[in-house]
């Protein structure tokens, strides 16, 4: 792989930062306070800068695609970050084919969401603050993707965590929302610790943290043999980081709460970009992970488990954003499943398509909420189809895509994942079953969501109905754009089987990613055993369509599954309460933590440690006042004391002789 020194990565990275500074410092200074910055100005600035980096990203992309090299990459070396005592961490930014793709996704979707936000957040106060956060987030996300070494990646990794904290808690006067932000940050921190430890171990074994060097070192079998015993540990601790950031079991609890942030934020951060960081990281380090089958299978299982777990919860939610949140979690589970079975390209593929349709869905839901004047409960919606035509169309596309209805983007990626779970050497058959179940769950609750929202009778209150209105073009525009992507984005990764039909359409993505994320297994597809693939494809599409329609049909009148099958209600209760996970964590972690800290601060420190210190002091004073009694004030007692001294000295003398 050869490296082109270029300033583009730096520019791409810096431009949102500039926007951040303008919004955070300059404009407030100019207008004397955040609240006073005009919304459109703030939004315009922010959008301009992220847009600029989108343009530059395209330039970089073309430059990459233009080059003849096998694995071209643009590198901009900014400065030495750390450099002492054998720890050398340059501030290097690198765009290769993988990061290039993600940069496109981030900046592209980012731009759309910025646009959307301008009108969505128009009536809020402190819009300047909002947009500055948004830009800061883009900066960190880009740093995460562009960083050429793990510490830089970690920099972005924590940075996006911070921004999500800030944005979730954007309406901080509401303690609930503030708490949600705190929860997100802390849970992420737990993951980050894992990431740190992983980095430390890696450094301990390899003595470097720069990604290319790691890859080159790992190419050397001797090195691999040397570090073999600890690889699994390294991978697992890194994966802990991933679970934190990408909301996998057991650290997924923060994501649903994160929905209390503004909806565009959920779309950008908690659907499209940040939560996929874990997938990106694993894809980045695929060479490392390849070395540890154990870790891989753990990843696969965690992913599958999360997928089905979250999917089942989503079925029972009534808050539209919660539904989407859990579906996000479950889709991420899918991606990890793919990683776990070694289909990194597929994971990235699904990452991309998921970014499209999930962003779309969130924005759509945002538009719906916007229309219903802030109402998020689907049971108070229904029949919105005729009020919000554009929103309906676009969300329909999105829902079809996520359900995996054929020829929508979700269809291709999900199908590839399902197939790779059986067709790959690393594949494990029953994971396939899990995948399938999850797929039909997905389609089912998506259908339910659509029907509860857009179809059926209108349940919204009167004044809400009175205010109903389709969102302005600034919001629908991005919706349509994303809808287009969600609809046709899948054709970047057409499987060979179909590709043959469609005039030998190649798997663009896989060819693009091959140099960075080598696909060891995909050639199997369609070449050796087309039958399998066909079966899987057909089956999954049938399941998808079927359960989607089922979802739509069933919930015209009723809200819950339990209303249809009475026997289901008990389990349904569990689902409603998200398997009581939050309560469980509260019981085993939060409460004990509080108790311990109260004990440490209130009892041990005050009475044991400090008590000892003060006790010594008190003891000395007691002894003093005791000895004081010897001073009776009577001359002759002093004289007797002297006599005692004399006797003592004489006894000493007596010792002289014997």
């Amino acid at each position: 792989m050869e490296t082109i020194n270029s300033v583009l990565p730096l520019l791409i990275l810096i431009s949102p930062l500039i926007g951040f500074f303008i919004n955070a410092v300059i404009l407030p200074l100019g207008y004397r306070g955040f609240a006073k910055t005009p919304a459109n100005l703030a939004g315009g600035v922010a959008t301009f800068f992220i847009g600029a980096s989108f343009v530059m990203a395209i330039m970089a992309f073309t430059q990459l695609s233009g080059s003849q090299a096998a694995a071209p990459s643009l590198l901009s070396h900014c400065f030495e970050w750390f450099n002492f005592g054998g720890l050398n961490i340059p501030f290097d930014l690198r765009i290769d084919k993988l990061s290039g793709l993600l940069v496109l996704i981030i900046t592209g979707i980012g731009t759309l969401i910025h646009l959307y936000s301008i009108s969505y957040m128009h009536d809020e106060e402190c819009v300047g603050r909002y947009f500055s956060y948004l830009n800061l987030f883009c900066f960190n996300m880009l740093l995460l993707v562009l960083g050429d070494n793990l510490p830089l990646l970690f920099f972005g990794w924590e940075g996006v965590g911070l921004c999500s904290y800030l944005l979730i808690g954007f309406w901080y006067t509401d303690t609930e929302k503030a708490n949600a932000g705190k929860k997100a940050f802390i849970v992420n921190r737990i993951g980050d610790l894992g990431f740190l430890i992983g980095m430390f171990m890696l450094f301990r074994e390899l003595g470097t943290l720069t990604l290319p060097e790691i890859n080159t070192l790992l190419a050397d079998p001797n090195v691999v043999a040397r570090i073999a015993p600890s690889i699994t540990m390294i991978c697992l601790s890194l994966f802990v980081g991933a679970t934190g950031k990408s909301a996998q079991m057991p650290l997924f609890v923060w994501l649903p709460d994160a929905m209390s942030g503004p909806t565009p934020v959920s779309a950008l951060i908690h659907a499209a970009t940040m939560v996929t960081a874990g997938v990106y990281m694993i894809a980045r380090l695929n060479i490392l992970f390849e070395l540890s089958p154990v870790a891989l299978s753990v990843i696969a299982h965690v992913g599958a488990l999360t997928a089905i777990f979250a999917g089942s919860i989503a079925v029972a939610q009534t808050d539209i954003k919660k539904v989407l949140a859990y579906s996000t979690v479950s889709q991420l589970g899918f991606m990890f499943l793919a990683c776990g079975v070694g289909a990194y390209q597929t994971a990235v593929f699904h990452l991309m398509t998921h970014a499209f349709f999930k962003a779309l869905l969130f924005l759509g839901s945002g538009s719906v909420i916007h229309a219903c004047s802030g109402e998020q409960d689907m049971t108070k919606m229904g029949g919105l189809k005729k009020y919000l035509p554009h929103t309906h169309i676009t969300m329909l596309v999105g829902s079809l895509a996520i359900s995996g209805v054929p020829f929508f983007s979700g269809f291709f990626s999900k199908d590839e994942i399902l197939y790779s779970t059986i067709a790959l050497p690393g594949g494990i058959s029953y994971l396939f079953i899990v995948g399938v179940i999850t797929a039909c769950l997905t389609a089912f609750y998506t259908g339910r969501m659509m029907s509860l929202t857009f179809y059926g009778n209108e349940r919204m209150s009167h004044d809400v109905k009175h205010h109903l209105h389709e969102s302005p073009g600034l919001m629908t525009g991005p919706l349509y754009a994303l809808a287009g992507l969600a609809a046709f984005g899948g054709f970047l990764g057409v499987p060979h089987l179909l590709g043959d039909f469609l005039g030998h359409m190649p798997h663009y993505l896989s060819t693009w990613l091959d140099p960075v994320v080598p696909s060891k297994h995909l050639p199997l597809v369609g070449v050796k055993i087309p039958l399998h693939e066909g079966l899987v494809m057909a089956g999954s599409s049938i399941i998808a369509v079927g359960s989607y329609l089922l979802g739509v049909k069933l919930f015209k009148k009723v809200f819950f599954v339990k209303d249809l099958f009475a026997g289901f209600s008990s389990f349904h209760k569990v689902l409603e309460h998200k398997y009581y996970v939050d309560e469980f964590y509260d019981l085993i972690i939060v409460r004990p933590l509080r108790k311990i800290s109260a004990f440490a601060g209130g009892v041990i420190d005050k009475y044991v440690v400090d008590g000892a210190v003060n006790g010594i002091g008190r003891g000395v004073r007691k002894v003093g006042s005791g000895l004081r009694m010897a001073q009776t004030g009577d001359v002759q007692s002093y004289g007797l004391m002297m006599l005692g001294g004399v006797i003592a000295i004489m006894i000493f003398i007596f010792k002289v002789l014997n």
Partner: protein, 174 residues
């Protein structure tokens, strides 16, 4: 050793004990006077006539008078039995005193048994003194030749005594 010395020793010892236990200060003063006089006698008997004289004059003459005078002045002839109030203290003190005395006895005994000839003896054997013209003359010469500094310095002590007595006992404050 002469019988007289033994008698004097025994007498002064008894007087001392009486002094210790006498109720009335005047009695004790008299006993003390007796002890001092006995001591003077002993000095005389061992041939230290000058010392004996001084002892008589200063001690018996000056100091004891001073004592008796102040006893009278402050008419302190009331009985002092407070020291018997705490028998514990009393007997323990007596015991301690006996211990000290025992140590001294032990030491003296040990000294006179083994060590009395340790050091170089002085030149002033009795016959040399006799040759030089008698005890008083020798001492007088020594006093004014070899020890004149001490002799001078003593005057400071006396001066202080005078000043102190005046300062402390003067009735009228300025």
């Amino acid at each position: 050793m002469s019988v007289a010395i033994v008698i004097l020793c025994v007498l002064s010892a008894m007087l001392a004990i009486t002094m210790l236990f006498a109720r009335n200060p005047v009695t004790s003063a008299m006993c003390l006077l007796g002890v001092l006089i006995m001591t003077a006698g002993i000095y005389g008997l061992i041939g230290e006539h000058l010392v004996a004289t001084i002892q008589l004059v200063v001690y018996a003459g000056a100091i004891m008078v001073l004592f008796v005078f102040s006893i009278m002045l402050l008419n302190l002839n009331n009985e002092d039995t407070d020291y018997l109030k705490h028998p514990g203290v009393f007997y323990s003190a007596i015991l301690l005193g006996l211990v000290v005395f025992g140590f001294l006895m032990y030491g003296l005994n040990e000294h006179f048994m083994n060590h009395r000839m340790d050091y170089q003896h002085g030149q002033f054997t009795p016959d040399l003194i006799r040759e030089l013209g008698g005890n008083s003359k020798v001492l007088a010469h020594a006093l004014f030749s070899k020890f004149y500094v001490s002799f001078e310095v003593i005057s400071l002590a006396l001066l202080i005594a005078v000043v102190g007595a005046v300062v402390l006992a003067k009735r009228k404050f300025d």
